[in-house]
């Protein structure tokens, strides 16, 4: 159990993941501290999802250790999962269940006692006060995303893992999510975020790791990454309007080739 408030809430050490002979993740190491929003960026197939899935316990890495709130996620998987909230990329709740039933299910799976009043408060808080009896599949993308985030947070986890949470959202919903993420950060929760949006990473992340071909190739704050790489020829070549942005640094470091 985590006792030191400044100790990393998530520690990933020397992570390696293979699919057959293909190595998807190569010696990846990083840590996330309480109250930090940490971004994991990379092109398609870079190893982000494999890294995240290893942390979530959905795949078993070939080597390396992952510790969540002091619990090794292979030795104490349920304890590790109890300390993290997860929002996966796609819709993934039983379509036959209503919003209220889904929230109740996940509350109970996290041993959270949810009164009727508390449930209504939660729904009101995400502007879904009148949608408790709606099936999840009947909600819009933004509404589904809000329900997913509520479920990820239902047990007040020490770290929340968000896998491309703003994909497909309109600008209003995206901004609203950023505000919610900053609210979580203010309350001391850590967030590990994967995204393809450099705007999002720059707007909300305290630190960023850029991962490519399975390796972490850069790790720092967005400003520090820009400062450090602004004179790289590849970054200057990637710049489109003279001003160096995080996207220019990302393209400069990972190349211009489109990944499958």
């Amino acid at each position: 159990m985590q006792t030191n408030p400044s100790a990393p809430i998530l520690q990933v050490d020397q992570l390696n993941v293979f699919y057959g002979k293909f190595q998807a993740v190569k010696d990846v190491s990083f840590s996330v501290t309480p109250g930090e929003i940490f971004g994991l960026l990379g092109p398609n197939g870079a190893g982000k999802t494999s890294t995240l899935s290893s942390i979530e316990g959905l795949i078993i890495p070939d080597s390396g250790t992952i510790t969540v709130a002091g619990f090794n996620n292979r030795e104490k998987p349920l304890h590790a999962r109890a300390n993290m909230g997860v929002q996966l990329q796609s819709t993934n709740f039983q379509p036959e269940l209503t919003v209220a039933e889904i929230i109740r299910l996940y509350a109970s799976l996290h041993a959270v006692d949810l009164s009727k009043e508390r449930l209504q408060d939660i729904l009101n808080n995400i502007q879904l006060g009148d949608a408790s009896k709606k099936r999840f599949g009947q909600l819009s993308g933004g509404q589904q995303q809000r329900v997913s985030l509520v479920i990820a947070m239902i047990h007040e986890p020490q770290i929340v893992l968000l896998d491309e949470p703003t994909t497909g959202l309109d600008p209003q919903s995206r901004r609203q999510l950023w505000v919610r993420m900053e609210g979580l950060k203010a309350k001391g929760h850590a967030i590990l975020l994967t995204t393809h949006s450099m705007e999002e990473a720059e707007a909300v992340c305290d630190r960023i790791a850029i991962i490519d071909h399975g390796k972490v190739i850069a790790i720092d704050t967005p400003d520090a990454l820009i400062t450090k790489h602004r004179d790289d020829p590849e970054v200057i070549a990637a710049s489109r309007r003279g001003k160096i942005t995080l996207e220019d640094v990302f393209i400069g470091l990972t190349g211009t080739a489109v990944r499958s």
Binding site: M1, Q2, Y19, E56, G57, L58, A69, F71, L78, H79, R81, A82, N83, M84, V86, L88, S90, T91, N92, F93, Q94, P95, E96, L97, E101, L105, Y106, S108, L109, H110, A111, H155, Q158
Partner: protein, 256 residues
Amino acid sequence: MQTIIPSDLNALKSLLTADFTAQWRNRRSVVLLLLVPVIILISWKGLVDKLGGAFVLSNCITIGLNAIGLMGYSNAIARDRDKGIFQRLRVAPVSARNIMISRLLIQLAMILLVTMAVFIAGYYADGISMSVAGYAVALLMSIAGGALYLGLGQAIVGLIKNPESVNAATRLVYFVFIMVGMFGELGNAGDIGMLGDQIGKIVKWSPYGVVRHIVSTGLEPATWSSDTTISFLLTIGYAIVFAAVGIKKFKWSSSR
């Protein structure tokens, strides 16, 4: 901060509540699963005297069990896997074992439901009546037979990832089991002889034939023979082999 994880029992209770609710909301498909054996039962009314009540009931129950294991269970698992429902559950502090136990308990309820539906329809539509002991033993045999078809369904979702391919494969196996099983064994019944004795013998020891045999003998426990014992052991053996293949090959996600 204290780490709280739910007890196994509470987690299972929550999963069961959700799974039963989902099944209830899918009651139309449950009714369709029940309709096939009941319609066959009613349409065979004229054959009851010739084939015997136990034979007719056991055929209809076996078809119902086939439908549950192949059409119901495997398609539901394939759909939920493809939608990522299992992955979402697996990132909660709940064991994979509990997720599957909950699903299997739903199927157990379905097995009991289809067996009881055939008993009731058999009594009212065809006037078939068995002893209380016969009904009780047949119910137990139905559970064993249901396990075989659930194992087969598990093997199919273990070997095939794509939900449409799972659907196509289960329909094919279901159709073959119904047609060859139902009519093939009649060749063995002597009086009707539809596909010949060779096919009849093959069907007798097939996953269809052994289940039909144990359910049939279960309805008339006094007729239990060495063939029934072999059929029962084969039923358990098939169930173990299919389930072992299905569990070993099963992937929780259809994406990689």
